[in-house]
């Protein structure tokens, strides 16, 4: 009989039953009796001094409960940044304050100036329109290079400049790096932009603050990927509240892609205002608001240089990147262009000398922070594009060039601070070659050309680092948080199990996957196991879901807690069967004594734990509940090879993706169907970045793509049917499940494949084009073909 539960089975997602029936419980579904609504007065200009705010007329409007301005938050902390980057001179980054409501100045379109709490949402909006503000507009700071010039207008007057930090990783001796380039046989340089993106989760952000005067307890319901992190940041840094009096609940979360990691002003506001108004306060972002308030992603401008010797071995890489942080430091923003980007610059290749230089810049735009992949897509894109370029220049097979330079021995210490524990890049590439049918490409190209179109094939590899850890190392690198996770396995008397986890699904399917692991370990059906997550009052202190960490970090904590449970259960079983602990075996939910036919069922043991009549009370406590915290020894390193085939209509420049193959090594896999889904979604997002999406500001700091009329999201017909293979598996060497994480891979690996394919198609028709910036829109492709 095929296995029908546990690890490796494609169980259908149990949470989808409620999601598909419209029975999910999202934050906006939560309405607290007596709640009022807040609407924010947001800046319509990118940069201005606030002379005055006149709320007198607005205060008398119907339904208005209270109006807040920056003055109400003077004694309150600002939003903290969770990572202090140290620059190349050992100086800490410049860290400006980030107030809940603007203090004296606004710094991006959407910056909140005032907030009206009213009986209804429309009343709050009416009153916001009646607030009179007197602003002196200042020049917007948009272009990063301009922002770093000597006389640039400063986004934060109290800082020395618009430079947050100037950071270097890898070989810090410039002469050594230059020597490697001087000795090179061939050097290829590429300048490119990794454009800014809007995360666009399907569910916009929502916050509901509630305060109970009798118990002095706060509750914040919020759209978060990590409720404990929000509670800690908000209590310790912003509002100064005791954590034990604050409960943060993130119920079902409708997508996040990173942008729901961060602690936002609206969360702190609703918590603060609920007490100040003695009424629950609810904020629901409109889609328009989410375009100007959700932290955005990417936005790097990079020059990368790659040196090769006479045998085409990579000998050195040097990169210079300007990274846009926007107007303020969002929670993890500073770590993205540095420790999540520079550290990945070795890619899958054994380049001996690498130097990564990053200048992070303040501009009068929406803050930028982690977005699916966070730094790793930026690293992968530049590296895989420059490798593609050099292959074309030297007329080398791009796959062979990559294979020649692959890291093949593990563990491998990169020149950029990481140790890859395991991988098999040739094996993964073999899977890709088989799935992508490279041999058939020539025929497909000639078929396409017979139809008057161009066809291109793009290939690339990627490496990513998931489950960022261990805490002591990241602490040395500037992280102001630990990066462990936690799980509590609570076995009920009748044998069913509740698992309280620190990870929090925002679409990934934890409710399905996590029980598969516990079911496997105990040998009972998954239907007996339920996941509890998203509520700080129910779960142990875990760090949430991002960076493809849930199964690798929180899953490991769950394994450890389950092991503790099993060990204790074995002791109880041993007592029940009058045997020695060491002889007890657990299989298929039955405890047996080795070498005998004696056995007791899981349920009998659990019942004995809670009805301890026949129980070794002198040796062990009753009950069966264990908690484990798990701090990983290292990152995990999923890696893969992707191939994309495009067709281009030469008259219009329209690119269509005809084939897309992904071969990934995620180590061991708990639920193959869910992994497929994660890869599909990631590639869809990567194709969105490659072909469609662009968050653009004009020179005055107005968002040009502030709605779906101009911000192009990928739709079903923009993406092909994917061929996904994850049979190349080198298990992670340092976590108990041997898992690596799969959430971001697709978004990291796919953009270079698409752009490489477009360049291949254009060059096949004789166009002298070696790069087009994303999004590779029809008009850009057409323009490239005219030159």
């Amino acid at each position: 009989m095929p296995k029908d539960f546990g690890i490796g089975v494609s169980q259908k997602r149990r949470e989808d039953v409620r999601f598909l029936k419209g029975a999910g419980n999202y934050t906006d579904d939560i309405n607290v009796v007596g709640q009022a609504f807040v609407h924010f007065l947001r800046s319509e200009v990118a940069h201005a001094t606030i002379n005055s705010i006149d709320t007198s007329a607005a205060s008398n409007m119907p339904g208005v409960v209270r109006i807040f301005t920056g003055a109400d938050f003077e004694g309150v902390g600002g939003l903290p940044c969770g990572w202090q980057v140290t620059d190349r001179n050992n100086e800490p980054m410049q860290e400006p304050p980030h107030p809940i409501l603007a203090q004296g100045k606004v710094r991006h379109v959407g910056d909140p100036i005032a907030a009206v709490v009213a009986d209804t949402y429309e009343q709050a909006r009416d009153a916001v329109e009646a607030i009179k503000i007197d602003l002196d507009e200042l020049p917007a700071v948009i272009d990063m290079a301009d922002a770093l010039t000597e006389n640039a207008v400063k986004v934060h007057d109290e800082l020395k400049s618009n430079l947050c930090y100037d950071w270097v990783l890898g070989e810090t001796d410039n002469e050594k790096v230059q020597a490697a380039f001087d000795n090179a046989e061939h050097i290829t340089t590429l300048e490119l932009t990794n454009q800014r993106l809007v995360a666009n989760p399907m569910e916009p952000r929502v916050a509901v603050g509630d305060y109970n005067q009798a118990t002095e307890e706060h509750t914040l319901f919020t759209t978060s990927q990590n409720p404990h992190v929000i509670r800690l940041l908000m209590c310790a840094f912003v509002l100064g509240l005791p954590e034990h009096k604050v409960r943060v609940v993130a119920p079902d979360v409708g997508g996040g892609f990173g942008t729901k990691i961060f602690h936002y002003a609206e969360e702190a506001f609703c918590t603060f205002a609920a007490k100040a108004c003695n009424r629950p306060v609810k904020w629901t972002s409109s889609r328009s608001e989410s375009f100007v308030t959700d932290a955005q992603g990417r936005d790097h401008v990079t020059k990368i240089e790659l040196a090769l010797d006479s045998e085409n071995n990579f000998t050195a890489i040097r990169t210079n990147t300007l990274a846009n942080l926007g107007a303020y430091l969002s929670t993890f923003s500073s770590s993205v262009p540095t420790w999540l980007h520079g550290t990945l610059m070795a890619g899958n290749y054994k380049t001996p000398v690498i130097q990564v230089n990053v200048k992070a810049v303040f501009t009068t735009t929406v803050p930028v922070d982690a977005y699916r992949g966070a730094g790793r897509p930026e690293a992968t894109f530049q590296l895989e594009r420059v490798i593609d370029k050099v292959a074309r220049e030297l007329k080398l097979d791009p796959v062979a060039l990559r294979r020649q330079n692959f890291i093949t021995e593990f563990p491998y210490d990169t020149p950029v601070a990481l140790t890859y524990d395991t991988g098999d890049y040739n094996g993964t590439m073999n899977k890709l070659e088989a799935a992508a049918d490279f041999d058939g490409f020539a025929q497909r190209r000639s078929d396409t050309e017979a139809n008057g179109k161009l066809r291109g094939l793009g290939v690339n590899c990627y490496i990513e680092a998931c489950g960022i850890a261990p805490s002591n190392i990241v602490g040395m690198l500037g992280a102001r948080a630990g990066l462990y996770d936690a799980a509590t396995v609570r076995v009920n008397a009748t044998g069913s199990i509740s698992v309280m986890v620190g990870a929090h699904s925002h679409g990934q399917g934890h409710e399905t996957v996590f029980p598969q692991v516990v079911a496997e370990m105990i040998g009972i059906d998954e239907s007996q196991i339920e996941i509890v997550h998203g509520d700080s009052s129910k779960i142990p202190f875990g760090m949430g879901t991002y960076g493809s960490r849930s199964i690798a970090v929180c899953g490991s904590a769950m394994v450890r807690a389950t092991e503790k449970v099993i060990n204790k259960a074995k002791k109880i079983a041993a007592h029940l069967m009058e045997a020695s602990d060491a002889d007890i075996e657990l299989k298929d939910g039955q405890f047996s004594v080795a070498g005998t036919d004696k056995s007791v069922a899981w349920g009998e043991v659990t019942l004995a734990a809670y009805v301890p009549h026949n129980f070794p009370l002198q040796d062990i406590e009753p009950g069966l509940e264990e908690t484990a915290f798990y701090d990983p020894a290292n990152f995990t390193f999923p890696a893969g090879a992707y191939a994309c085939e495009v067709e281009i209509d030469p008259d219009t420049g329209q690119v269509s993706i005809e084939r897309f193959c992904a071969a990934d090594d995620f180590g061991n896999i708990v639920n193959p169907m869910i992994v497929d889904g994660q890869v599909h979604g990631g590639i869809g997002q990567g194709i969105g970045q490659a072909l469609l999406e662009s968050c653009s500001y004009d020179k005055d700091g107005q968002l040009l793509s502030g709605s779906y009329m101009d911000y192009a999201m990928p739709r079903a017909d923009d993406v092909p049917f994917y061929a996904v293979d994850h049979s190349s598996q080198t298990p992670c060497t340092h976590n108990p499940l041997g898992v690596k994480g799969c959430g971001e891979a697709g978004a990291i690996g796919s953009p270079p494949a698409v752009v490489n394919a477009v360049i291949d198609a254009l060059q096949s028709a004789g166009h002298d084009v070696d790069h087009i910036d994303m999004p590779v829109s029809p008009s850009r492709v057409w323009a490239a073909m005219q030159s």
Binding site: E122, R125, E129, S288, D651, T652, G653, Q654, L691, L692, S694, S696, L704, S705, Y708, M709, D710, Y711, A712, M713, P775, S777, P778, S779, W782, A783, Q786
Partner: protein
Amino acid sequence: MYDFEFEKPSSISDAITLLSSEEAMPLSGGQTLIPALKQRLNAPSKLVSLAGIPELRGVSVNEGGMLEIKGATTHAVIAKQASSHYPALSALASHIGDPAVRNRGTIGGSLANNDPAACYPAAVLASNGKIISNKREINSEDFFQGMFTTALDEGELITAVQFEIPTVANYQKFLQPASRFALTGVFVAKFDSGVRVAITGASENGVFRWSEAEALLSDNFSPSSLDVLTFSTDGLISDLHGTPAYRASLIKTLTKRAVIAAK
């Protein structure tokens, strides 16, 4: 939204009376107006729904042989009911937005709005159409007066639209990647009297006719007739999705494709 009164009359005359009050607006499919209201970009005192007026719905061929579509007929109904009379128009309607938009949005709402990237204006202009209002007939040449601007007076209602039916025609729409309106759209209609070519999505002045192409195609209805032309970039839209040069190129490419595809 701001507060407004809502009326749902059952005849055109009642609708006109209701629309005579200050700041009243017709609401047809609401696909443009409702989002604008939600963003508080409009503040009508009263919305007069056209959805309950039977005489504003239907597709038929009139005595003069023109295809007549009533003002509040939805895109979905046009796609279905115009297909035997005027396949190119039916095809155009069937590619507007998504099913929800097509089952709500109406031709009258689209023409009154005159979005520079909308589809119907090209069809109406290329078909030498007429806009029929509660008080007059307006030739398509006179009706479209630039981006979001038409000849309609305050309170004037589009009750029907008439199209001359060409022998062959085709609409080529190149999608703007985000909105999927026309980044540029070209409607070519061949009549016994000559060829008409109308372009949408491209010009800062909204829909227009390409007279040079019309002359050449009237002589010889072949894509190669256009080889000698280059479209000037003057006055073409420049935005995130395309430069004037790109739009000029699309105009020519799409016109050729429409000639080839015309049936």
